[in-house]
Structure formats: C-alpha cells, structure tokens
C-alpha cells in the first residue's frame, strides 16, 4: 500500500482544518471498509487519512419524537439495527443497514461512509431518500443542509467541497401510518453488490386506505441514486390498489437509466426496477397498515 499519514482529531474544527490544509490529498476515514481497500488497491489516493471516529458529533445516535433521528456520520450499521426503537420507526433504513456486507462489515461500516463513497449501488441511499434524510455538512464556511438525494453528483463524487465533511444525517419523525422498505436484487443471498436496489415509503390516511405521501428511491440504475417523485405521485388518487403499484413501477422503470455491466444488462436492470418497486411498495404498505 502507498504510504500515508494518519490523524485522529477529537474535534470537528481540527478535522476541518486538516481537510482544508491537505485538500483532495486528504480523505476522511470512518469504518474504513471502502477507503482502506480502495487505497490499498490504488483506486483512490490519499496522503492523509483523517479518522473521525474520536469526534463526538459523528457518533450521535438519538431519536426525539419532535426532531426525528440524528444519525452521526460514523455510526456503524450494527448500532442502528440493534436499537429497537429506531428499528421500529425507520424500517427502510434498518433493511439497508442489515444487508450491507456480512456481520464483520456491519461492525465497522457507517451510513455516512456508504453515502460519501458515492457508489451508485450504495444500499443505504435509497433508504435515506425514502426516509427524507437531510445531510448536515460542516466546513470552513460553517454548516449547510443538503437533501440526501442531491448529495451524490457522479459515481464516487459528492457535493462536498474542500475542507467539508458530513457530520450527521437527520431523518424527520415518521408520519402517522407510515411504512417503508428497502430491498435489492443480488445473485446470492448475502455479501454482494446490488444489481438494482429499490426503496419505497408510504404514509396512509386515518382509515389506512389512501396514500397521503410517498417516496421511491432507486440504486444502481443511474450514475447516482435517484428519487423518483413521479412514481410516488402515481399513488395518490383513491384507495391504494395493485394497479397503483403497476403505474408507479412503470414510472420508476422510465426514470431508470441503467448501464450494462457484468452484474446485469440494461434491459434486465429495467425489468428488476419494475419487480422490486412493486415488492417494496407492498411491504411498505403492509408495514404502514401495522403501525
């Protein structure tokens, strides 16, 4: 592996100062499950890794009924799914963090790292999209909030500028009668990269018949994860039926811009978007009816 320096600052300001000074020769280190392997294999270069895990703000995991969930950027997957309250309130997020890698990866991999790595196939991103997450970004010019669907700008690239880092994700409290689900297609049951991933969330009316709000997010079908508002809008008229799901699935397929690669060709991926969108919606609906 190429040599690099290592720093483990204890405050955000120290981390930002290091990132400003070294510019794009510095990378943040969270769980390391992407960056250590990428640097070792020469796929990313770094003169300095800034380990953020000793900074309190990026380790926050706190739910408040008014403010929602504060999810620190470096919190590893297992802390999220082992928290029973969070598991109940944010089921789409839990689906995603429980299927990243295996147990060993989940001990270290963070949602913040999954997002900042900006892979089009990142599993947590459609889940964050359907839970309406916003990203708290800090840098030399202070703090800004970025909707998660705008965070990735190209494969491997994010909106983060020089000296900026992701501090936490904020997920609003779930709406009444809310359900969400994330699922993906992979050729085996565990330990693989999504060929396609789909997240869906629905919020129902008092009688749990009509959809009052919905979100659909897609992974691995475009250069960045996608929010598909038109597919969600198709769920809004009248009590929910399978034909709403058919329409939403067709619109999600139309929004997908998949490529062909060794995991699957574009036509197969587009087919999967349809199948998985319907499945994600059915489970989200079932969960919404149970709340």
């Amino acid at each position: 592996m190429e040599p690099f320096d290592y720093a483990a600052p204890k405050t955000l300001n120290e981390a930002i100062a290091l990132l400003v000074e070294r510019g794009d020769r510095a990378r943040v280190l969270a769980g390391g499950t992407d960056i250590i392997v990428q640097v070792r294999e020469g796929r990313r270069h770094a003169d300095l890794l800034v380990d953020i895990k000793r900074i309190p703000e990026v380790n926050i995991l706190h739910y408040d009924p008014r403010e929602g969930l504060r999810l620190g950027a470096a919190v590893p997957c297992y802390r999220i799914y082992e928290d029973a309250d969070i598991a109940r309130l944010y089921p789409g997020l839990i689906d995603a963090v429980s299927l990243i890698g295996g147990i060993q990866i989940q001990s270290r991999a963070s949602v913040g790292g999954n997002l900042c790595n900006a892979s089009p196939a990142a599993d947590t991103v459609p889940a964050l999209i359907v839970h309406e997450a916003r990203c708290v970004v800090m840098g030399p010019a202070g703090q800004r909030l970025v909707p998660v669907e705008e965070f990735c700008v190209a494969p491997g690239r994010t909106v983060l500028g020089r000296g900026e880092l992701l501090v936490e994700l904020r997920l609003p409290p779930p709406r009444p009668h809310f359900g969400a689900h994330y699922l993906r297609f992979i050729p085996r049951n565990e330990m693989d990269i999504a060929v396609v991933g789909v997240g869906a969330a629905v919020a129902l009316d008092e009688r749990r018949e009509r959809c009052v709000q919905a979100r659909i997010g897609l992974a691995a079908v475009a250069p960045t994860p996608l929010l598909v508002p038109e597919a969600a809008a198709a769920l809004m008229d009248g009590p929910l039926t399978e034909s709403h799901f058919d329409r939403a699935a067709a619109l999600a397929q139309a929004a997908a811009r998949p490529i062909s690669d060794l995991r699957g060709d574009a036509a197969f991926r587009r087919h999967l978007v349809g199948v998985l969108t319907k499945r994600a919606l059915r489970t989200a609906l079932q969960r919404a009816r149970e709340t």
């Binding site: 190429e2 890794l49 890698g101 060993q104 330990m191």
Partner: protein
Amino acid sequence: MTKKAHVQATVNGQPVEFLCEPRQSLLEVLRDELRLTGTKEGCNNGNCGACNVLLDGRLVNSCCVLGVEVEGCQITTIEGIASPQGLHPLQQKFLEHAALQCGICTPGFIVAAKALLDRHPRPTEYQVRHWLAGNLCRCTGYDKIIRAVLDAAGVAASG
C-alpha cells in the same frame, strides 16, 4: 516513508505496544509485528473473513482496520480462544466434525462463530449460516462447519 506511530492495546488479555506505519493493517501488525500468525490473510479486501478478530468484542476483518486505529482497544485473536485447560468447544467440534481441510479459513470461522455464540448461545441453523456468510471456505462445502458450530452450541443440525 511516513513516521511510525506508537500504539498501545490489549491483545488476548495481554498489554502490548508496537510501532507501525499508518498504512499497515491490523492484520499485518498482528502477523508481522506481534508474530501472531494464527490470523490468516485470504483476500485482503474484506470478503473472505480469514483475518477475523474481535475488536472490543465486535467481529471485524482485521485487513480492513489500520493498526494505528486500535490505540486503547481490546483485541482477541484465534490464539486467545483456547483456555489453559484446553481447546474451546468450537475448536474441539471443528476437529470432531472434520470441519476443515487446508485450514486457512479455520481461524476466521472459529473467531466468527465465537462472536456468534457470545451473542446467541443457542442459534438456529439459519442464524449460523447468516452470521458466517462473511467467511469463505474453498474446501469443505460449509456443511461440516455449520454442523460443528451447532454441535458446539448444543443444538442439533436440521436435515
């Protein structure tokens, strides 16, 4: 070459100190600096589990952890699984079930299975297979490994 860092940690209950470059993984530190060669390198990219150790009680791939990150941490390697009285039940059952052939994957499987049994002392077969999905074996076909783990937990395998 970058400056070496001085790191203090606890490995298998013993305090240790070592010098390492930031680019050295915990796996390299264990094997090359501390001479604990029971932990194996398979893929060196997080996929095979041969390098599994417990870091503050959590199962990790030591090839995906930097040596400099473990300052102040507790690490358990395969060398710390047996007791002075003898083999750990998992080790004993791996022998009885012939759950290994070349043996490269075995330390990782045992450490991973130990982490499983620490959390779920009586796992179902599904839980065992799910928990060990991050460990690869090119020899055994897995079935004997699953049976050995279930037997060590005192659970009969299904089918």
